[in-house]
């Protein structure tokens, strides 16, 4: 009798404006409001607004039987507050139904868990506070940026008081074990929810692919796959942009989302639960031991999407090395900028893996090449550093 555990990740970065070497020393306005608004308008129109409506309808229709979870980064909340308060309101309406759980994470969708535990904690606290203010909620479950995970990160997360954390369902970690059970972090009480990447990516990646043998995927077929699963939980975690942006409306993705609850609930053994319900219902079956960093990004599922080539490593080391200075300065505007510069997307844009083939890295990417991304970032950072003196 597995519980379906749906979780959608909502995020947009604060993109940098085109910043040349000639701007250094003259301009400390690093962010491109116009461009951010351009992407935000598109994502709100194509995804947030229609998807929120579909989900709210399902919640109302199934009278508390349809539940799911959201993570929403601080950077997207800020942008929605500024430009689309009514869209933020529609998220709030979903949370108010009591059928939607919220996850905490780093406010800036950052790689701060790789900077220091202190900085990581500070950004998580900031996010927690924001959720309290915006949604009146204090989450129990944690998701790190792009499901970044290691035993050490899990320990830090447990110390902050969270009960569970999200992790990619890595084959080499799970080995013979199934992702459809609750696990425990190594030497810890923290529960770990392993993403069922095969089933999740059927929706997130393959849904609109006409080369795929299962195309077109309809909710009844998908529900029948779910009904065949043995275990405690089916962890279907994905980016919220899956709906309307990765797969456009004309692929039938919203119909799929809207009819999935009904189709799944036709099976008596299936139900929807929030992650908190799942971990209180089920004891962990085993321990998850990941001594090195893993994530849900790309096929490598490690740090290489952000920290592989020399440009990425250099840019990250530079931003990381400023921690002491920033803590001494205590200038709130500079702190916010420093943290916005830690957002993982900036490093993702610098990725040279498969870049020439044109792949998912191009999505929402406003740079022509990873070299443009690095050059722009370093020009900004050079100016930022010069202002700390």
């Amino acid at each position: 009798m597995p519980d379906i555990c749906l979780y959608f990740h909502v995020h947009q970065p604060t993109r940098l404006r085109h910043y040349t070497v000639f701007d250094i020393g003259k301009n400390d306005n690093y962010f491109d409001d116009e461009r951010n608004l351009f992407y935000l308008e598109r994502i709100a129109r194509k995804c947030y607004v229609p998807a929120n409506k579909v989900l709210l309808d399902s919640i109302n229709r199934f009278d508390g039987k349809f539940k799911f979870a959201f993570s929403i980064t601080g950077t997207i909340i800020e942008q929605l507050e500024q430009f689309y308060p009514n869209v933020l309101e529609s998220f709030r309406a979903l949370v108010d139904t009591g059928c939607v759980e919220l996850f905490d994470e780093t406010y800036y969708h950052s790689l701060s868990s790789l900077i220091s535990e202190k900085e990581f904690n500070r950004q998580v606290k900031q996010h927690n506070k924001k959720f309290k203010n915006v949604f009146g909620v204090r989450p129990n479950v944690f998701r790190n940026t792009e499901a970044l995970y290691s035993n050490d990160i899990a320990k830090a997360v447990e110390k902050m008081g969270y009960k569970a954390m999200v992790c990619e369902g890595l084959d080499h970690i799970l080995d013979w074990r199934s992702p459809n059970f609750v696990y425990r972090a190594k030497d810890s009480n923290l529960r770990v929810l392993m993403r069922n990447y095969k089933l999740a990516d059927d929706i997130a990646f393959r849904f609109s692919s006409r080369d795929w043998a299962e195309w077109p995927l309809k909710a009844d077929k998908y529900a029948s796959w779910l009904s065949a699963i043995q275990g405690q939980c089916i962890n279907l975690f994905m980016d919220y942009e899956t709906f309307g942006e990765h797969h456009w409306e004309d692929t039938g993705i919203f119909n799929f989302l809207g009819s999935l609850p009904g189709e799944a609930l036709k099976y008596p053994q299936l139900s929807f639960s929030t992650p908190s319900e799942i971990i209180s219902k089920h004891e962990p079956v085993d321990e998850i031991d990941i001594p090195y960093y893993s994530s849900w990004a790309d096929v490598n599922r490690d740090l290489s999407a952000w920290l592989e080539n020399d440009m990425q490593k250099h840019a990250f080391e530079e931003i990381k090395s400023l921690e002491q200075t920033m803590m001494k300065k205590k200038n709130s505007q500079q702190l916010a900028n420093w943290r916005k510069l830690q957002t993982s997307d900036h490093f993702y844009y610098m990725c040279t893996k498969w870049f020439a083939d044109g792949d998912v890295h191009k999505y929402f990417n406003h740079y022509n090449t990873p070299y443009d991304a690095y050059l722009n970032y370093m020009n900004v950072l050079t100016d930022f550093k010069s202002r700390l003196k």
Partner: protein
């Protein structure tokens, strides 16, 4: 095949292209006879028959140089003919006679100078004509003052040809819009280079504590050397230890020297003239810039990338369709050009990644693929 130049006699990319293509084609069991105007040099590549038609040395010339070079160098005076149009007409007459002695299945004419001959040979032999167009009159004149007589020949060749080969989609669009060539008649076959030639080039020393930013190409409006100087002035405001080396000659040289003086950067700009061994200069460079106003392909960018030089190419170029590990910039946006040059000089990881990935990408492009695609076009003609 009909062409205007062939190594060791060449003045630009066309000769290099003909060499690479014919060599790769002959490796694929293709018998080629190459007809070209008389040069006074011995040309025998060993893999095909080269017939130099006519007798007079003064008739030979490279179009781009001959119509515009006027006394800017002794070399130009002595080698390039003065009446270029008469030379094209003479080549046409003589090539027809030479072709009557040869057996062939396809006629392939390289650029407009060979088009009249190609058309005439098609008429008497009944064999299909393929024309390659490496640049148009619009490109060569920077869209400013195209010569109508040449445009007409280009149009006629494109019209008479059974198939048209061009070097990029950028060019294909130009041919479709400016010469009304049906898109389905045009095949895009990119350029390649002999990568090993550049990877092994010897390093030259300028002996200065300066980083070198390199421009190569004819000093004509098409290649945008003036934009290179504007960007240089902006770079030098931020970074004095930079030298801008300009390899190539052309009618703009005096005006460029004046411009460098006017910008107050003449101490940092070296005009080294036309050089046979450009690969030595690539080895010197920390950054290569191709700021062309209109560049049908831009083979120099591949050469630079194969020489481990981070490369900036004009957005009006064909080469950007085949390589991704380089910067692309609008030729007129000298601020951004300077920003990118400074970035490459300033941030070591940027130079390192562009060099490594650029080399890997450019050195994979080879003439074998180009020959295969060309043979495919022959079979369609």
């Amino acid at each position: 095949m009909l062409g205007w130049e062939f190594p060791p006699f060449k003045s630009g990319g066309l000769g290099t292209h003909c060499y690479g293509l014919t060599k790769a084609l002959s490796k694929k069991d293709t018998q080629i006879t190459f007809l070209m105007p008389y040069t006074g040099m011995e040309i025998n590549p060993g893999f095909m028959k080269v017939v130099q038609v006519g007798k007079s040395r003064t008739r030979f010339g490279s179009y781009a140089a001959s119509t515009i070079v006027s006394g800017s160098g002794k070399k130009a005076e002595s080698v390039y003919g003065n009446d270029f149009f008469a030379a094209v007409e003479a080549f046409t007459r003589e090539a027809i006679e030479a072709a009557k002695e040869e057996e062939f299945d396809v006629i392939h004419a390289q650029d407009w100078m060979a088009f009249p001959a190609g058309i005439a040979i098609k008429k008497f032999s009944g064999k299909p004509l393929v024309v390659s167009i490496h640049s148009t009159e619009f490109d060569r004149t920077g869209n400013l003052a195209p010569n109508q007589w040449i445009c007409d020949i280009e149009w006629r060749g494109l019209f008479e040809a059974n198939r048209v080969i061009t070097v990029s989609n950028f060019m294909k669009e130009q041919l479709a819009t400016r010469y009304s060539v049906p898109r389905e008649k045009i095949s895009v076959v990119y350029n390649a280079i002999e990568a090993h030639q550049f990877a092994n080039a010897a390093c030259k020393e300028f002996g200065l504590d300066e980083k070198i930013v390199l421009f190569t190409g004819r000093l004509t409006v098409q290649k945008g050397p003036d934009y290179f100087l504007d960007a240089a002035a902006k770079v030098l405001k931020k970074n004095k230890k930079t030298r801008f080396v300009i390899v190539g000659s052309g009618y703009m040289l005096p005006q460029l020297i004046n411009k460098a003086i006017g910008l107050g950067i003449s101490d940092h700009v070296s005009f080294v003239g036309f050089q046979q061994n450009v690969e030595d200069y690539y080895k010197l460079a920390s950054c290569y810039v191709m700021p062309s106003v209109s560049e049908p392909f831009g083979i120099c960018a591949l050469e630079a990338m194969c020489s481990n030089v981070p490369t900036i190419v004009s957005s009006n170029s064909g080469v950007k369709e085949v390589v991704k590990h380089c910067f692309v910039v609008d030729f007129w946006d000298v601020n951004e050009m300077a920003n990118k040059i400074i970035g490459i000089l300033k941030y070591a990881p940027l130079k390192h990644e562009m060099t490594k990935n650029g080399y890997h990408e450019a050195s994979r492009i080879n003439w074998g693929q180009i020959a295969d695609e060309t043979l495919k076009v022959y079979s369609m003609a």
